[in-house]
Symmetry: C2
Subunit: 324 residues, 2 copies
Amino acid sequence: MLCSMINLPTYDDVISASQRLQGHAHRTPVLRSTTADQMLGAQLFFKCENFQRMGAFKFRGAFNALSKFSDAQRKAGVITFSSGNHAQAIALSARTLGMPAVIVMPHDAPAAKKAATQGYGAEVISYDRFTQDREALTSQMAAERGMTLIPPYDHPDVMAGQGTAAKELFEEVGELDYLLVCLGGGGLLSGCALAARALSPGCKVYGVEPEAGNDGQQSFRSGSIVNIPTPKTIADGAQTQHLGQYTFGVIKRDVTDILTATDAQLIEAMKFFAERMKMVVEPTGCLGFAAARHAGLPIQGKRVGVLVSGGNVDLGRLAEFLAA
Amino acid sequence: MLCSMINLPTYDDVISASQRLQGHAHRTPVLRSTTADQMLGAQLFFKCENFQRMGAFKFRGAFNALSKFSDAQRKAGVITFSSGNHAQAIALSARTLGMPAVIVMPHDAPAAKKAATQGYGAEVISYDRFTQDREALTSQMAAERGMTLIPPYDHPDVMAGQGTAAKELFEEVGELDYLLVCLGGGGLLSGCALAARALSPGCKVYGVEPEAGNDGQQSFRSGSIVNIPTPKTIADGAQTQHLGQYTFGVIKRDVTDILTATDAQLIEAMKFFAERMKMVVEPTGCLGFAAARHAGLPIQGKRVGVLVSGGNVDLGRLAEFLAA
């Protein structure tokens, strides 16, 4: 019932977002790897959002959403809750557009993400993600301060912004047979699915989430949003407990299926990226490639897009993963 | 005297090389970093050859040189000596062009480089770089087997190939005020200087070498090639003992000066690249950025190109550097 009452974003919104992002977001490179191609017997195209501003695709959605604020909204500012990358994205976008920002962030978020968020001038408020409800806490504060809440994924403007990553990928490499996208709350997946449907209609689009937190897979296969406890996984960007109304609306319509990857597969992918492709990818950003390697999709001889979502990982943790 | 008898490569050779490399070498991305720009008060343009095939610019020169072989030369194959990246570059180029390759490599070369070279199908012969003369050893083997020696830097075709990296950089971003290039034997620096002179005549071109092995600086400032013992530095790609006749011929004519960087500055740069730019850069590849930060050049407000030469570093060593 709910779904019929909300207006899902469309590919036209992705096009508008890409115009707003012009000159603000990087057009990130698409990298190839002969070694990866040979290993999988496919042609892989890695869209490298780890090279995006603040190190993750999240800047796209945040900047797009904030760009649409009215003067009154800009004056009061933006508030959000985030496990990390969306926090930095909102903070940087708010600074760029000259508005105040409050970020409600888990007490155990990676130190690098917390510091970077504060470095962009945002006010950070901590909560315990195992005992407190971040969404209720944030809504209450938004009401008190008159700030506009831009949630990390379940918002049409955020989804449309994230979709510009896939739009750029298809524009650069043409149509694909498969597109593998990291899945937390579904902002990136739903936006990219909108772009895929418009630019490469035959492309199968898969979301990939941590095995320990497969709420998206359960939701997709059961047809309604499933809630789970905060999953314990190294993929800290995909520790969401449920999809959103908007993201699920697009995902159930435009996505082919949801796959999972284990933490061990993410570490293996992280090492491959560092050793062979010379890039730093955070655990969440490894989901797509891990699935390409291990999920059993018939990708041999096919053209496969892999969304690499971000690269924000503490150097100390990265060193541990690489030495593992 | 010698210099007047040799034909130095020209920018036309760089253009020809770029045509031979079309479809074989990657056109690597130029990355920007707002953080780096703010830190240095300049506009930095990082030409990322760590994303080149086999992880370093060396593929450009090797492939260009081997592409020019006659049928008889191809049949007998290629031989070279190298501390690592040139080895892989020759091995991969030889495999691509269907010819045998022998690589004379120091016994203590990074394991990843040795394995990758053998993985490309080349025969690897080890020597002790603290006691044996690699050039004499290689020349003797070349004569015995009838193979063509393509040295790692002192060869016009190698230099012209390396210059295509700077050609692409200038074509993408336009003219620059400064260009900072890693310096080992001078193949990359001399090739890039040729491109700079043609495409951005006002650009100051600097070579940057490890402080522990500043033979290039001594040579440049004294006007003739200075030999030093193998320097002990983490920049294993720049442990050369002397420039070459060809490279020095171009360098003394077209380069502004030679700077140095310490190992500590290279580690600092490596951490910056991993943490803020999400990329893996080997110690040698950090020379240019380390100099931009510490060499005292008046780059404030200027447009500065930085050649990031490669990303081939063992994961174990990388983990140690990042945790340092």
